[in-house]
Amino acid sequence: MAKIISIKEAMDMIHDGMSIMVAGFLAVGTPEKLIDALVEKNTKDHTLIAISTAYPNKGSGKLVVNKQIKKAIVSHIGTNPEAGRQYINNELEIEFVPQGTLVERIRCGGFGMGGFLTPTGVGTEIEEGKQRITVDGKDYLLEKHLRADVAFIRAHKADKNGNLTYRKAARNSNMVMATAADITFVVADEIVEVGDLDQDEIMTPGIFVDYLVQV
């Protein structure tokens, strides 16, 4: 199950062009130290999968400011003017996805489903190129699964088997992104012994976690 590694060991596994899920909502729930280390490593041409591009100086936005992102699959860029600037200058490709659709596509990616049917976006630009399927008289769009090469997760507590809990609104996309990447890196506020977390209160079972990164 989870292995404890250093931030340098984590960064050694990340290469140009990899797709990266960055958990967090406006940077709350984002493991900032992994972002900072990746800025320092300065790898390029990443696909960013995140709820938003956060802020220029916080969360996934720092990767955008440092021009490491080639394409962003996000629901929002409004809080990061640099993302907007790169987007209109064609320096950054953006796939806008409704937020509920985005997190559900990621869940499908993690849980071995090809996609799902959502009423969100029917009759809008979001429908372009997608199949419309009617179930019980209601129209839905077929939205496809989404996975990444790596995921950056921030937990509150992690036990040494990789079992995780989150705190308050920092949970957001962490739970779902932890399931959907080939390599899942977790930075926890605290690493505890196996048995210290209540078996009923664990939010992410350790089977989804590859590495606990010590920062």
Partner: protein
């Protein structure tokens, strides 16, 4: 009283005690300041929680506790945190009694446009498209016109957020309800006539036979 306050006050009258709602940034959120005595709403936040009792933001800056606008917020006793997929499951699943959102354009078919102006930088979609298809009642709260441009149209001219989902439009001048597939003018601001509303509105609408004056 400025337009924002008029609209927010009128929106507040739509809430019943215990309503479970999601409110957009700006006027919709402002409306909670004008809730009638004894009316509390439960505020759902896309990023993964809901609150009981009035929203309290900025009071306790817990770095892990923000609302969907990024403001620090206290989630009171009885409130709950959950992950994003549950949050949008609640939204799409029809559990929200109401959502109140702003708009760039609305039309007489209930279409809504509030995310994209061609030629401008798009801030994004966020949770808006999900809210509008999911909530039991969709209320649009906005100024009646924007710099003289009409916003309540026969047919939206910019990209849609959702098709046929708008149930009610509240502006500083009028209240419309969508009934039997068409818009019905239900209220006007004191001193404003139905004819004046017609001047400011491109959409076809009928005037309710019991047309009322907005009481703010």
């Amino acid at each position: 009283m400025n337009n924002r306050e008029i609209i927010a006050r009128r929106v507040a009258q739509e809430f019943k005690d215990g309503d479970f709602v999601n409110l957009g940034i700006g006027i919709p959120t402002l409306s909670t300041a004008y809730l009638p005595e004894g009316v509390n709403v439960i505020l759902h936040s896309e990023n993964g929680h809901y609150n009981f009792g009035p929203l309290t933001c900025e009071e306790d800056k817990d770095p892990d506790s923000i609302n969907a606008s990024g403001e620090f917020c206290v989630v009171r006793n009885g409130g709950v945190f959950f992950d994003s997929t549950v949050s949008f499951g609640i939204i799409r699943g029809g559990y929200l009694d109401k959502t109140v959102l702003g708009a760039l354009q609305v039309d007489q078919e209930g279409n809504l446009a509030n995310w994209k102006i061609p030629g401008r930088v798009v801030p994004g979609i966020g949770g808006g498209m999900d809210l509008v298809v999911g909530a039991k009642k969709v209320i649009i709260a906005m100024e009646h016109t924007a710099k003289g441009e009409k916003k309540i149209l026969k047919k939206c001219t910019i990209p849609l957020t959702a098709m046929g989902e708008v149930d009610m439009i509240i502006t500083e001048k009028a209240v419309f309800v969508r009934e039997n597939g068409g818009l019905v003018l239900k209220e006007t601001y004191p001193g404003v006539t139905a004819d004046e509303i017609r001047e400011l509105t491109e959409a076809d609408f009928t005037v309710d036979e019991n047309l009322k004056t907005m009481s703010i």
